[in-house]
């Protein structure tokens, strides 16, 4: 049930303003931690502004969509939806400069495959990635736990796809619309675009689904208003109707904004800027990162040997003798 889910409790927000504030906060925190030596005035010449970060996230959302579309074997829609959710949630509280979206994106898809029970092996998964595959698998596995931690381990996602099916069944049963299947292509197109917006963080999946169907209906000059007001909401839901209308209007306007063209050149510039200001500790190509990994590995070893020797000492002292092999 959506109403009792972690998605509803922790990952639904009141407005785009709230989301923007959280993202600005993440950006500010990053600059606070890593940009102390940079002066106030030229801070944003070095670092990305919150708006620029948003553009980067947006860009990689398109990448995410294309990656999922080209994925072999073809993945179910719910995996795509879940991956989008993870990606969006991650960058609410984290800065693009700290964790590169390119890496988080593949990790999101990998985790979503697991959570949505779309069984692909690491080898199959890597076959869809261009470039150095060993490095990619390292990146994914290193980031997977981080991603889950940043998601607060709230992994189950309610996608709008099943509600769409439910609404179609309901429309076929309780509405006199002729051939509701006509609406399907329009609905699916709408849902796909809705994933590129913040709508899934602001409205419940069933609201998004309903908006998608209503949008598709209006494209075909059909009218489902009486179905929604009389059949779906009926007497008991009359008081809630205004809020739903607002929600549907909000979703549709947000989705409309997706079509605004993006400036390719600007994006390229941003990419370069990001490459300069990203946190070297989390950049797998940097020396610092390699050192850190080495240190972690070394730490693990050291910890292990320490524990083992402690054990040995304890055994020796309690028995008052050393263990000798039976042959001795």
């Amino acid at each position: 049930m959506f109403a009792t889910s972690t998605q509803c409790k922790h990952w639904m927000f009141t407005s785009e303003d709230e989301l923007n504030k959280l993202r600005e906060n993440a950006n500010f925190k990053h600059i606070q931690t890593y940009g102390r030596q940079v002066s106030e005035a030229n801070r944003y010449e070095v670092f990305l502004t919150p708006d620029e970060e948003k553009l980067m996230v947006r860009k990689y959302e398109y990448h995410l969509r294309d990656f999922c579309k080209r994925f072999q074997p073809p993945m179910p829609r719910c995996v795509v939806g879940t991956a989008f959710h993870y990606f969006k949630r991650f960058y609410i509280n984290n800065s693009v400069m700290n964790y590169h979206p390119k890496e988080i994106m593949v990790t999101c898809v990998f985790l979503a495959c697991k959570v949505e029970e779309f069984n692909v092996s690491m080898m199959q998964f890597l076959a869809n990635i261009k470039g150095d595959r060993d490095k990619a698998s390292d990146i994914i596995l290193n980031n997977e736990l981080l991603l889950m931690q940043q998601l607060n381990f709230h992994l189950s996602i309610h996608n709008p796809f099943r509600p769409v099916e439910g609404l179609f069944i309901d429309i076929k049963t309780r509405c006199t619309l002729n051939d509701p299947e006509r609406l399907r292509p329009g609905t699916e197109h709408f849902l796909e675009r809705s994933l590129l917006t913040d709508a899934v963080l602001l409205y419940s999946p069933s609201q998004v689904a309903l908006a998608a169907i209503l949008h598709a209906a209006s494209k075909l000059q059909e009218n489902l208003d009486s179905y929604v007001t009389d059949t779906l909401f009926g007497v008991e839901g009359r008081g809630k109707l205004d809020e739903l209308i607002d929600a549907v209007r909000g979703i549709r306007s947000m989705v409309k904004m997706v079509d605004v063209a993006v400036d390719k050149n600007h994006q390229k510039l941003l990419e370069k800027k990001l490459e300069k200001c990203r946190n070297p500790e989390n950049n797998p190509d940097s020396e610092i990162y390699k050192q850190r990994m080495q240190a972690m590995l070394y730490d693990d070893d050291e910890l292990y040997t320490q524990v083992v020797s402690e054990r040995q000492n304890l055994d020796d002292s309690t028995l008052g003798m050393t263990i000798t092999s039976p042959g001795a």
């Binding site: 049930m1 509803c8 099943r162 439910g166 609404l167 179609f168 309901d170 609201q207």
Partner: protein, 313 residues
């Protein structure tokens, strides 16, 4: 144990299956017949180590290794004197040190290390802790006494319970016999329908049984009036467990935050399942019914339609 052999007469377990090995304080084993022979006078010396032994100190060897026997013996002796409890020490550290010391003494004695000094140590300890030893001896005997008393009480209650059960059985037997006779009498002399009579009788018996089963549960009471109001008595009984309030099942309600979805029975009456694919035979064998998927889709479609996230002021 197959190759047990008496060191003196070289009798083995194989030759004499009833061979019984005995040990004394020195830890050297002898077979029963050799003990009888050697210690005819009640005392003598060990054939192995020439130590003076008493006959009544011989015990049946329980462990294969005779040194273990010896250690058990020594331990028993030492612990009779070193009988301090954890309560007698101010800290756990002290108690552990004390235990350590006791173990060292026992180890020394069993392995003949520094016997003279160790024995001296024991003597010293005995002297300086005479009072303590007496006290603990008293305590031990008192505890044993209490245990015996408790066992006695248990035995008695068991006996009385058995008597009661016997009595009860006899009573019921008699009653049954009487009932049977009454039924036959009734059948012989009454003018009523025979079937009716049998029915009323069985009815009566049934009622009787119901009444009877109830008081049977409270028979568990001591018939003897023995009081055992000592303080230590509670330590023998299992600790009673405090039980909280019993679990009460509350059915889970559905929070939909939207219009209520149809219930499963309505799927067919309202015509929902016309619009869904029916399950194949294989799917049905796996326990899948299409109405489950249909219900789920409908529930998901309607849940959360009223959702509004209010800004937290």
């Amino acid at each position: 144990m197959e190759d047990t052999i008496c060191p003196r007469c070289k009798t083995t377990k194989f030759q004499n299956p009833s061979l019984k090995m005995m040990v004394n304080v020195c830890g050297h084993a002898l077979c029963e017949s050799c003990v009888d022979l050697l210690f005819l006078k009640g005392s003598g010396s060990c054939p192995d180590c020439r130590i003076a032994l008493r006959r009544n100190n011989f015990r049946v060897q329980l462990f294969e290794d005779a040194t273990v026997e010896k250690e058990v013996d020594i331990r028993k002796r030492v612990l009779r004197d070193f009988s301090k409890k954890e309560e007698d020490f101010s800290s756990l550290r002290d108690y552990n040190d004390y235990l350590e010391e006791v173990e060292t003494i026992i180890y020394n004695l069993t392995n003949n290390i520094d016997v003279i000094n160790t024995n001296k140590k024991i003597e010293d300890y005995k002297k300086s802790n005479r009072e303590q030893i007496m006290k603990s001896k008293n305590k031990m005997s008192r505890e044993e006494y209490e245990l015996e008393e408790l066992l006695e009480i248990e035995k008695q209650s068991e006996l009385s319970r058995r008597n009661e059960i016997k009595l009860e059985e006899m009573k019921t037997k008699k009653k049954k016999l009487r009932e049977k006779e009454a039924l036959i009498d009734e059948l012989m002399f009454s003018n009523a329908n025979a079937q009716n009579i049998v029915e009323t009788f069985t009815q009566q018996v049934k009622e009787f049984k119901e009444v009877e089963t109830k008081p049977a549960s409270k028979v568990t009471q001591f018939s003897t009036g023995i009081q055992f109001g000592r303080q230590n008595q509670s330590s023998f009984l299992p600790v009673s467990i405090e039980e909280g309030p019993l679990f009460v099942y509350k059915p889970q309600g559905m929070v939909t935050d939207g219009p209520y979805p149809p219930v499963e029975e309505e799927l067919s009456t309202l015509g929902y399942n016309v619009h869904i694919r029916t399950e194949t035979e294989q799917e049905r064998a796996g326990g899948f019914v299409s109405s489950i998927a249909c219900m789920r889709a409908l529930q998901d479609a309607l849940a959360g339609l009223y959702h509004v996230k209010k800004a937290i002021a």
